[in-house]
Amino acid sequence: MEELELVRGLRERREEVVAIFLERYRSLFYHCISHFEPDASSRDDLYQDVILYVLHRLDADSFDPEKGSLGTWLYRVAWCRCVDQKRKQSSQRSPRLTTVGENIPEKVDHCPTPGEQAGEEEIGSLVRRGMASLDEQERALLEMRFVDGCTMHEIAERLEISLEQTKYRLKRASTSLRRVLLNELALEEAG
């Protein structure tokens, strides 16, 4: 089926065209979404959201076949949507403080509840304990990344190593941390 015919069919929401569209571009969406959402169940939610958003954008006539293929346009739209959604999630979890009485919230409050905050603090202390058990190099690397919030480039520059080396070492340090945490959990279970 030609791209333009496909687009027309999607705008009309013809069932068989939507099915062909999902089948044809599934791997493209999967490729994009799986990078942003490692968790399988959250990935499905993001997929639903991206598809609805793509259809919404098609309805708004924002696809121009003269500027490129449908696949290229879809990938761009899906990627931008994923970035947007991740940013939204992040801002909901770290809200800005406002003065009492200045703004009365009209929407659902996404801020973590006191219970959630306590849970996060508990996980934070678990991570810090785990990091303390790692060797010095791995601990320093994880602290730079997750405590100081350094980017890969900044870590690479600080350690005077390549970006690829930085990624490799971070991956290795994260695995070591998981190993330590699993050991702690096993000890707790045994105790």
Binding site: F36, G71, S90, F146, G149
Partner: protein, 395 residues
């Protein structure tokens, strides 16, 4: 019948492994049950890389489910730290701009100024850095499914089935001819004589040219050069003053873009990225050069290492990427010694021999630069008019 944003659509979920990796063998593989503690430990350590079925098995495991939950909570905590913007780095750019900066498929060009601003931000923002990293892997090709095959297609290109070539049956006489010695052909001595004459002629030409060393012929390997950036590429000598000619500059050579006046570049910009030489190494930008000419001379000495030069042309106010070249600045003491030991009758012949040596060892950029110091003649012009990888570009 447009779906409302609040409606929950029923699109098939993204089940199973990456569809681009799907193969009959993978589909038949039964998910592990993690009864072996060592296997379970390995799976827990790499839980975010497990396939859906295996992850589900871990989630339902009486012993490992809680451990997995803890590890997920820890990962969530860590991801949250990365997703929270650091104070002082300013607001994140729009996803569209970030996509163009990361050169996603079908990205639009950005101005040099904006690109520099975004670079500053991305190098300090973990969330944007991660998003850009996603673009480093190209999306898979779109697959047309068998479902679509049932739709009417255009007429097949080949109307008739392939016809096997005819098999000639041998009669008794021809079959026995294989066993008998072949009769001496009249043409064989004549062809041998012609080959000998040609060989002699070639040898004579070689001996006659021995006196004046000629510049090497560049190979005509079509299809490997599509961008406008021609040089530098390949190897570059770190110690360029050893070439004999005083202070040879490093010349960035760009080919005029095809398409006539409509494609005339108002300005060229070349970024120089330094990296470790790996295939997936993005590199750090170490320099940027701009010019309205399609040749840019660099006086800076580059340190030993691997580089990528990436060129951009501004056409009608819009910047577009037009090719990249990898090159390596190398300290090569053996070659330097050979260059210094070059002996010939006069200075020009010595330079020609040096050019040949550099060219043979892959130092094409240095060889060209040295060739420019020769007085203009047919040999020199022919050498310089060819870019070494394709047909002459008429410079």
């Amino acid at each position: 019948m447009k779906p409302e944003r609040s409606q929950k659509a029923d699109f098939l979920p993204l089940t199973g492994p990456d569809p681009t990796d799907a193969s009959p063998i993978m589909q038949e593989k039964a998910p592990r049950r993690f009864e072996d503690p060592r296997e379970a430990l390995e799976a827990l350590l790499q839980w975010d890389e497990l396939e859906r079925e295996e992850l589900a098995a871990l989630e339902q495991h009486p012993q490992h489910a809680e451990r997995l939950q803890q590890l997920r909570a820890v990962q969530g905590w860590m991801d949250q730290r990365l997703a929270t913007p650091r104070p002082g780095i300013g607001p994140c750019p729009s996803p569209e701009e970030l996509y163009d900066y990361g050169r996603g498929v079908g990205a639009n060009p950005l101005s040099a100024e904006r690109r520099a601003e975004l670079e500053l931000h991305v190098h300090r923002c973990t969330a944007c850095e991660h998003a850009i990293e996603v673009l480093a892997t190209r999306p898979p090709a779109v697959v047309i499914s068998p479902r679509e095959a049932s739709l009417p297609l255009s007429a097949p290109l080949r109307a008739l089935p392939p016809r096997p070539s005819p098999i000639e049956e041998l009669d008794e006489g021809s079959a026995t001819r294989h066993d008998a010695p072949a009769p001496r052909s009249f043409w064989r001595p004549a062809l041998s004589l012609a080959a000998g004459l040609l060989g002699g002629l070639a040898l004579w030409t070689l001996v006659a040219d021995e006196g004046t060393p000629r510049l090497p012929q560049t190979p005509q390997l079509r299809g490997s050069q599509s961008g406008a950036l021609l040089f530098p590429r390949g190897l570059l000598l770190a110690n360029r003053e050893a070439l004999g000619a005083a202070a040879l500059p490093l010349r960035i050579e760009l080919a005029p873009l095809e398409g006539g006046d409509a494609m005339r570049a108002e300005r060229w910009r070349v970024e120089l990225l330094r990296h470790a030489g790996g295939a997936f190494d993005a590199g750090l930008r170490v320099a940027e050069y701009q010019s309205s000419q399609h040749e840019i001379l660099i006086e800076d000495a580059l340190g030993v290492g691997h580089y990528t030069a990436r060129a951009y042309a501004t056409i009608a106010g819009l910047e577009r990427e037009c090719g990249a070249q990898d090159f390596e600045v190398r300290h090569d003491p053996q070659l330097l010694a050979e260059l210094e030991g070059t002996q010939a009758g006069n200075e020009l012949d010595r330079t020609r021999l040096k050019i040949r040596l550099l060219h043979e060892r892959g130092y094409l950029t240095d060889a060209r630069e040295l060739a420019r110091t020769l007085p203009p003649d047919e040999d020199r012009n022919r050498y310089l008019s060819s870019d070494g990888l394709g047909p002459a570009r008429g410079r």
